[in-house]
């Protein structure tokens, strides 16, 4: 009973702490917008769930069962990615606020702590799911294809399909947080990569999202009414350009028959989630502030002195010290030293990247050389995306560094920090992009590929500007890590032309996509300046 009370206390405190944030409100707003987008009107030029033939689009009438299942499937898919970033800061919060060290001195076990945090994350994600559920209900009435509300048909897909997934995401978030190497930026990127690259493969083996079960039920109903409907030609997700010149054929679907076998697969997810949260407790450092890497094995040598001892042994007598005054000339502001200081800071961060360490610089140099030597198409299509992914964790600190390390009061109380320090931060980020992508730029120049070079320039300015703007406005490096990774994956890697911000796809250069990104860069830079100005003034 006592343990349950402790668990409840952890969940409650964590939940209240998370939902009373501006970030949570923004996420909720986005969730409601997503719920709206997921139920397109018949006139929309995109579809979210349908079967397609050359002449016809087939979908169910917007009744409670259809809308419930459709919105649940889409929510399950997007919240398994976005939800992770919403909740993966519970342990970090306890560490940063030092509350963790207090918790560590209580009888609370590691497993209770990690389970409590996983359940807290689950409560937060469930709140978001509940909001989408209410939005779905509203959308059924708003679209008005069928006004009768069947509460169970609308709700069951959220309970059966989405909530087990949210529990799993909640547990994985805690697992990542309790592993020092998966904490923070590295974990954010690893999770995004696992989600993007592994889930499609994994879904073939296990119906993680419940998509196959639901779609086969819907498809069978549709086929019973329209025999020409090909069950294999389903679309789930936002797809544009399919509605033109196609007739819309509607059928009525009354919901999934939730068989015990189907429910068992969902229960497996619940079990896995509990297991993951318990695994998270194994080897969790319990807020020991001493870094793992500094553990020294064996008997310490007698010659080892700690920092304080070294300092005390070489104290300079006060009477020997004089502070030399600074003349007026020494205090005239110079931009170049400011820029160099920001560049040094960024380079230092590049060499201290988690997991990569000193190899960060070596990898950057290797990418520059291969970008220069490989055939231009390969250099642009492969090496440039890689070169401009390596420093993601450095760029993501732009605009957030001061708050992250609590140097904001020192920096913002310096003269003209808005028009001196911020431009220097931005330029240092641009230089980093130029340096890491310089091999491809030289390669383009050697081949006289001037449109390619323009696209490269747009990319080199766009990336750090996006990072700076998101950092200043959200105060978190997560937003850039998440948005940039998605953009990078969908655009340059999956070759979606209008998202190719770096000129990795030959067609996008001819289409002049780089112009769009130059304009976006200017807008984002302006927004970053406004954001920082407000940041300095609003205290």
């Amino acid at each position: 009973m006592n343990r349950l009370r402790v668990l409840y206390a952890i969940i409650r405190a964590g939940y209240l702490n998370k939902v009373r944030t501006y970030r949570f409100l923004v996420t909720l707003a986005l969730t409601i917008v997503a719920g709206y987008i997921f139920v397109p009107p018949p006139t929309a030029d995109y579809v979210t769930l349908a079967w397609v033939s050359p002449t016809t689009l087939y979908r169910g009438v917007y009744n409670s069962a259809w809308i419930g299942a459709m919105v649940a499937l889409l929510t399950g898919t997007f919240l398994t990615l976005l939800g992770f970033y919403v909740v993966n800061d519970s342990v970090k919060r306890d560490e940063e606020t030092r509350v963790g060290q207090i918790i560590a001195t209580t009888p609370l076990s590691n497993s209770a702590y990690t389970l409590g945090n996983a359940l807290c994350n689950f409560a937060v994600l469930s709140t978001m799911v509940a909001i989408v559920h209410l939005t779905a209900l509203g959308m059924q009435l708003f679209r008005g294809e069928e006004l009768a509300i069947e509460l169970w048909a609308l709700t069951a897909p959220f309970l059966v399909l989405v909530l087990p997934l949210m529990l799993l995401v909640a547990a994985i978030a805690v697992l990542f947080e309790t592993r020092p190497k998966l904490r923070g930026g590295v974990g954010n990127l690893v999770y995004a990569f696992v989600w993007m690259f592994s889930l499609p493969l994994f879904s073939e083996l296990f119906d993680l999202f419940g998509i196959m079960g639901v779609l086969s039920s819907m498809g069978a109903t549709g086929q019973a009414m329209y025999p020409e409907l090909d069950q294999h030609k389903s679309i789930l997700g936002l797809e544009w350009g399919l509605t033109q010149d196609k007739a819309l054929a509607l059928f009525t679907w009354r919901g999934v028959n939730w068989t015990p076998e189907f429910l068992q697969t969902r229960l497996v997810l619940v079990g896995v989630a509990v297991g993951v949260s318990l695994i998270a407790s194994v080897r969790f450092g319990h807020f020991d502030p001493s870094p793992e890497s500094k553990k020294i094995s064996g008997t310490p040598r007698s010659t080892v002195q700690n920092v304080e001892e070294v300092v005390e042994s070489t104290v300079v007598p006060l009477e020997e010290i004089r502070l030399r005054p600074l003349g007026e000339e020494a205090l005239k502001f110079r931009f170049i030293p400011m820029l160099l200081a920001e560049c040094r800071l960024i380079l230092k961060e590049l060499t201290m990247l988690p997991l990569v360490g000193m190899w960060g610089s070596a990898a950057a140099i290797a990418l520059v050389i291969t970008g220069l030597l490989l055939p231009l198409d390969m250099a642009r299509g492969i090496m440039l995306p890689l070169a401009w992914f390596l420093p993601v964790l450095v760029w993501s600190r732009m605009g957030t560094r001061e708050a992250r390390h609590r140097t904001d009061q020192l920096v913002f109380s310096s003269a003209n920090s808005l028009n001196r320090q911020l431009p220097a931060v931005w330029l240092a980020g641009v230089f980093l992009a130029m340096a890491t992508g310089s091999g491809v730029a030289l390669n383009s120049a050697c081949h006289g590929d001037w449109p390619g070079l323009l696209a490269w320039t747009a990319g080199a300015t766009f990336i750090p500007t996006l990072a700076l703007c998101l950092g200043v406005w959200t105060g978190s490096s997560k937003s850039f890590e998440f948005i940039y990774t998605l953009l990078w994956y969908i655009g340059p890697i999956n070759q979606v032309g209008f998202l190719d911000f770096m000129g990795a796809i030959p067609g996008s250069m001819e289409a002049g996509t780089w112009r769009l990104y130059l304009v976006l860069t200017a807008i984002l830079l302006g927004l970053a300046l406004i954001g920082r100005k407000l940041q300095i003034q609003r205290r």
Binding site: V307, E308, V310, V311, S313, T314, V315, V316, L318, E320, I321, R322, L323, R324, P325, L326, G327, E329, A330, L331, K332, F333, R334, P337, M338, L340, A341, R344, L345, K348, E349, M352, R401, H405, R406, T407, Q409, L410, V411, F412, S413, S414, A415, N416, S417, R420, Q421, Q537, R539
Partner: protein, 295 residues
């Protein structure tokens, strides 16, 4: 050289009460010790002067220029040590101070000389190449002091500077302040009265957001003359004494507890007037007599 604070009030968003209320101070060259209990509004006042926070009402001006309107006027000559600040953990002391020097616009060569002097002053010469992430709390505090002095500031605002410093560190800091005294405005906010006693030529006591007293240490000491009593009492009576009187110190000796009490009249028949009151006792007296005033 004048820092003028006129009827400044501050209410934070979402808060019903004022952290500062109608506070006015005229500050010239010298060291002003800002004293007050926790939550008195000291740090809020410091942040307003450092242009980090804007006042809700009132005006702060530096040499006649409103610093809310033109913050860079004071920022150009400002050294600021916040109560709660951080450092970049992957940089060493040298790199961090060079970075801060660049932000403050100091020429690189002059900055390097200044950093040498300051690192010697704060006793971090030997540790200068170690990452700041490995520093103890006291060492980080010393880095904070060094960065505040980088630009040879005309206005130095230091909030709880000796928190986390060991005894020697505090002695060195007081020496540093003495070295700095002269043609500059130094505002030292602290709840450690002995720091102020050793350095300040001017004292302001604030409580509940309001200015209680503005005075020199000598006048403040005079205010408590004839009001400090001492006597010996058994340990068993300590709790009752604490509840009845304003105790300024308790020292355990062979014959019992030697207590000092601040009171207008003799608190016990065996109590005698103490010889020389301390600034801490003057401060306690001031706070107790003004209790109930304020926001």
């Amino acid at each position: 050289m004048q820092l003028l604070i006129e009827k400044v009030s501050k209410r934070y968003r979402g808060s019903e009460s004022y952290s500062l209320q109608d506070l006015s101070l005229d500050i010239g060259p010298g060291i002003l010790g800002l004293l007050g209990p926790n939550g008195a509004g000291k740090s809020t006042l410091m942040r307003i002067i450092a242009t980090i926070t804007r006042p809700t009402h009132g005006r702060v001006s530096w040499n006649g220029v409103d610093i809310a309107e033109q913050p860079d006027e004071i920022r150009a000559v400002l050294g600021y040590l916040p109560q709660d600040f951080g450092v970049y953990p992957n940089l060493n002391a040298d790199e961090f101070l060079r970075y801060m020097a660049a932000i403050k616009g100091i020429a690189p060569k002059a900055a390097q000389e200044r950093i040498e002097d300051l690192l010697a002053f704060v006793n971090l010469l030997e540790a200068r190449k170690r990452p700041l992430g490995d520093y103890s709390g006291g060492m980080k505090q010393r880095i904070g002091i060094a960065q505040a002095l980088l630009n040879d500031p005309r206005v130095l605002i230091i909030d709880e500077p000796t928190v986390g410093l060991d005894t020697e560190g505090r002695v060195r800091f007081r020496h540093l302040l003495a070295e700095l005294a002269g043609e500059r405005v130094v505002i030292l906010s602290t709840h450690i009265v002995s720091d102020v006693e050793a350095t300040a030529n001017d004292i302001a006591i604030i409580n509940r957001g309001r200015l209680m007293v503005r005075s020199s240490p000598e006048i403040l000491l005079q205010s408590v003359e004839g009001k400090v009593w001492q006597w010996v009492l058994p340990s068993s009576e300590l709790l009752a004494a604490k509840q009845r009187h304003l105790l300024s110190s308790v020292v355990r000796r062979k014959d019992g507890l030697h207590v000092r009490v601040v009171a207008e009249t003799s608190p016990a028949h065996e109590a005698q007037l103490a010889g020389s009151p301390t600034l801490e006792e003057a401060y306690l007296y001031c706070i107790s007599t003004h209790r109930g005033e304020g926001a």
